[in-house]
Amino acid sequence: MGRKDTKVRMSLQTLRVLEAFLENPTLQLAGADVHQRCGIASGTLYPILLRLESAGWFVSQWESVDPSSAGRPRRRLYRLTSTGLRLASEVFASFNRGLLA
């Protein structure tokens, strides 16, 4: 297998998702949390999360809770990878450069 293609189409919604994660890069967020922070509709949000995960910007894992004791199903949590953090920071830095230029 070759090296993973980290290129992701940057839409405004993708930027908003990345911004939510960049507020606290160590934070793990479920899709519902991202929806609350960004207000992006689920039909747009989940493909973006999968796209970013596929490109290696995010990793996801199941929440480590027992559904029967928690009284709710476990959630899928996403977090920025180191690569994702670097690339997202570069994206926002380039936007800032473009705005200031």
Binding site: A30, S42, G43, T44, L45, L50, E53, S54, P73, R76
Partner: protein, 138 residues
Amino acid sequence: MIRRGHRAMHPGPEGVIHWLIRHAARGAPDYLSSRLEEEWLADLESRSSALSRVRLACGCCWATVVIATEYAGTGVSTTVPAAAVRGYVPRTEKNFGYFSLGAGTLFLILGLHAALFSGLVTTFSNPASIEVTVLPGR
């Protein structure tokens, strides 16, 4: 893996919402469908209002269309374990201009529904008046 204990039957609108989400997840690529179903049903729990839950269910249907469309362009078999490692391979090079294929299909379906609905409204709001004339002497 879906925990069967959480798959209780939900009557009424709640059942429709759960059915929509499960139906949407089944439309995703095989290796993603069970994950998405569990993920979306878990996210549904965080939505309190009925409208918000319906919106999530409809959004999941739309998300499946987008995911399936992007996946379809890759030509990667669902049986390839390497593809399942990351779970998803996006197609980014295909461009349909201003609208994606999925968006175009949605607009077409919405347009047809709007045309049908307006036709029905027009028909039933202005019923054809039937004039009955009684001729004298008959």
